[in-house]
């Protein structure tokens, strides 16, 4: 198992949210959109200029800036990360 922030999660690796940091409107918006502890997420795409990214959770896709994704800590299962590396 390895933990990292969501902006560093490699493409296509399933992960689970541990904490949602940040504060104020952004944090509440993230919680409202379903990014809460134990939710499964995957990074699906990176924009042509490297930012923002598209993530998939709860059966839908949303885009989020990397600086905001940095507020979210996720953990991957060992096997899935090894498979990519």
């Amino acid at each position: 198992m390895s933990t990292m922030t969501l902006d560093l999660l490699p493409l296509g690796v399933p992960a689970r949210i541990i904490t949602v940091g940040g504060n104020g409107a952004l944090r509440c918006r993230l919680l409202d959109m379903g990014l809460i502890p134990r939710t499964q997420v995957q990074v699906k795409k990176v924009a042509p200029l490297g930012d923002p990214i598209v993530i998939n959770l709860r059966g839908y896709e949303m885009t989020i800036r990397k600086e905001d994704a940095r507020m979210i800590v996720v953990e991957t299962e060992v096997d899935s990360l090894k498979a990519v590396v």
Binding site: V20, G24, A25, L26, R27, C28, R29, L30, L31, D32, M33, G34, I36, P37, T39, K45, V46, A47, P48, L49, G50, D51, P52, V54, R58, G59, Y60, E61, M62, T63, I64, R65, D68
Partner: protein, 668 residues
């Protein structure tokens, strides 16, 4: 009977609204809010009206849309609400549903996109979901018009019987349950007095909602006790208050979803979207494809379809003008009144109306791009670039439209979610040189710079855009600093747009524009006609150089002396440019006693190459036409702010023209 329509963005809310009401919609404004809502009578149901509330994800008071919806339900007390949810994305959609349930109001759940779910082998246990949520649940497909009649019937019955949702207490036993119930108990009397549902008020207190807190009018002691209860819950649970509430809701939603919805993992629509996105948001192709699409939309609008229709309409208006003119002459109407009708109203409103086809065509393409889901991808692709100037990806559309016509561009800012971005975009649009200025550039470029025509044109376009970006960048760091709105955007699956929605939107825009053409613009053209026709003693003038307009031109001439443009004919043409930018050239033609074709040969009498550059820079940057001013006024919603924008634009134009004249005076 009033029914509120509430749902997430991209859940088919507008499609449902259009199915319910047809074309009989009007824009309504509820007191105290700036966001408009559409209202329409329900087809075939006497006395029932639906209100289309803004698409939202939650009822937190962070965006104006959320506040509008919440205040609408709390204050307007609709007879019932229809909560429309996208059944293919049920978990996130039900999050709003749970918050709506807390507001204790008759409510029906419309499960949209059932056809899509079924086609992918999914199903919903409707009866069980209805039992678990405590409200009627109706499966529908808004685009295919399935289940709409049943939905309306059940909603009408729910509203008539004032059937409240069955109270469900979904908080799990434990710290959060104790916290909610303790707070609810504490504020019960206050909530009843303020006429706010107790459980809703309790959760809002836990979420630190200042608006609800002030409405409850709690005293210091009570506030401290509440805070104490919350902190206790936070320590016991190891989660802060916001996360705790969100988690509680999602846990309940997951259990409802597990018990009632059977879905296949990856739908056909999702897989299709992934395939399309491989190309549309490709690392190398994404931006070029976007530029190509915008180019195609522009070509089709300004050179092919829109231009053709515009010419056709202009010809029609010309024909009508001639017919009316002849009829009035035959009737023997007072020549002055006839001049008012023909030269004032017909010419003025006619020239603005001929923009209508262009605007409608542009919005046709734009709403297709929006409804298919492509605009969301554009935002994703362009966000990083636009963030450099302090805007977000969404502003790219109005910016590009500005090169065509400021009016639809300013109208397109309405889709921006952030008030700050919207205002900045409205200010940015006029810097994009609109197509009506092309005749001015063309005449001057060939008269003074025949060897460098393309360079001059390019310079004006690029210079205007660059200056606009610079100014927005500065404003973003000074006057408009503010809290940036969180950038979290859903990327919906690509969908075929519903032609009905596209056509209704076109009709809406057309109506909006025509309304303005016959109010603000009609007034403005009459005023300009009077200025052109009368002298200072209100006698009709024989020679246009005696008119009030020329007098006005002469009055402001000294202001233009530093630019080397101190000729009343120049300043008069600039004033008439406020009606439409094309009028600059035609007025110069009239005042120089020559047709537009020969204008180039006589311009040498008025301008040197350096002052011509100054003049071009001024026309590039100064206040756009009345139609654009009216659009700015409408979107900013303030006369004072609009006036400030106009003055600022003229000031910037003057300053830049001076610099350009001085610099080019040295070079040329």
């Amino acid at each position: 009977m009033i029914i509120g329509l509430v749902g997430n963005q991209n859940c088919g809310k507008t499609a449902l609204f259009n199915q319910l009401t047809g074309a009989k919609q009007r824009v309504g404004n509820f007191p105290g809010v700036t966001v408009e809502q559409k209202i329409g009578p329900v087809k075939g149901k006497m006395g029932i009206e639906v209100v289309d509330l803004p698409g939202i994800y939650s009822l937190r008071p962070y965006t104006s849309e959320e506040i509008v919806t919440r205040d609408f339900i709390l204050n307007e007390k609709p007879d019932a609400i229809i909560n429309i949810v996208d059944v293919t994305n049920i978990e996130r959609n039900l999050y709003l549903t749970l918050q709506l349930l807390e507001m204790r109001i008759p409510m029906v759940l419309a499960l949209n996109m059932m056809d899509e779910l079924r086609n992918n082998g999914g199903s919903v246990d409707i009866a069980k979901m209805s039992a678990l949520l405590g409200i009627p649940v109706v499966p529908i497909s808004a685009i295919k018009n399935e289940g709409i009649a049943e939905l309306m019937q059940i909603t009408a019955k729910t509203a008539e019987t004032k059937a409240l949702p069955r109270q469900i207490d979904y908080c799990p036993p434990g710290p959060i349950h104790r916290c909610i119930h303790a707070v609810a108990h504490l504020i019960e009397d206050h909530a009843e007095q303020a006429d706010i549902p107790t459980r809703f008020a309790a959760i809002k207190m836990i979420e630190n909602d200042p608006a609800i807190a002030s409405r409850l009018a709690l005293n210091q002691n009570e506030l401290e006790s509440i805070e104490h209860i919350i902190v206790e819950m936070e320590t016991e649970l190891g989660l802060d208050r916001n996360a705790a509430i969100a988690e509680m809701r999602y846990n309940f939603i997951e259990s409802v979803s597990r018990a009632t919805v059977k879905r296949s993992n990856e739908s056909k629509e999702y897989l299709r979207s992934v395939r399309i996105d491989k190309i549309m948001t490709n690392k190398y192709l994404g931006i070029p494809i976007f530029l190509l699409i915008m180019l195609a939309v522009f070509m089709l609008t300004f050179n092919v379809i829109g231009a053709y229709l515009s010419d056709l309409l202009a010809a029609g208006i010309d024909w009508l003008t001639t017919v009316v003119d002849n009829a009035l002459t035959a009737y023997g109407l007072n020549p002055l009144v006839q001049s008012l009708i023909i030269d004032g109203i017909f010419a003025g409103v006619g020239s603005v109306l001929s923009f209508l086809p262009i605007i409608v065509t542009l919005f046709f393409f734009l709403s297709i791009l929006e409804d298919t889901g492509y605009i969301a991808r554009v935002v994703f692709v362009m966000d990083k670039l636009l963030r450099k100037i302090g805007l977000s990806g969404r502003s790219i559309v109005p910016m590009l439209l500005g090169f065509g016509c400021s009016v639809p561009a300013i109208m397109a800012t309405r889709t921006l979610p952030s008030e700050r971005d919207r205002k900045l975009s409205i200010l940015l649009v006029p810097f994009m040189s609109c197509s009506a200025k092309i005749p001015i550039y063309a005449v001057f470029a060939s008269a003074f710079f025949s060897t460098h025509r393309a360079l001059v044109m390019m310079g004006l376009y690029v210079g205007g855009a660059a200056l606009g970006i610079l100014i927005i960048w500065l404003l973003g760091r000074t006057a408009f600093r503010g809290q940036p709105v969180p950038f979290v955007l859903e990327l919906p699956n690509y969908r075929f747009p519903s032609m009905k929605s596209v056509l209704l939107l076109m009709w809406e825009r057309a109506r909006d524009f025509m309304h303005r053409a016959f109010t603000v613009i009609l007034m403005a053209t009459i005023v300009v006609w009077m200025l052109q026709t009368f002298d200072i003693r209100l006698n009709p003038v024989a020679d246009s150089s005696d008119s009030l307009l020329a007098l006005g031109g002469r009055l402001i001439t000294p202001l233009f002396a530093p630019l080397g443009l101190a000729d009343w004919r120049i300043t008069t043409s600039l004033i008439s440019g406020l009606i439409a930018k094309e009028a600059v050239v035609s007025t110069l033609g009239v005042l120089m006693n020559t047709g537009v074709e020969q204008l180039g040969t006589v311009l040498g009498q008025l301008f040197t190459p350096a002052t011509a550059i100054g003049f071009l820079v001024f026309t590039l940057l100064y206040t756009p036409c009345v139609a654009a001013i009216a659009a700015v006024r409408r979107e900013l919603g303030s006369r004072a702010k609009t006036a400030a924008v106009i003055i600022a634009q003229c000031g910037v134009a003057w300053l830049c023209a001076l610099i350009a004249k001085l610099v080019f005076g040295l070079i040329l």
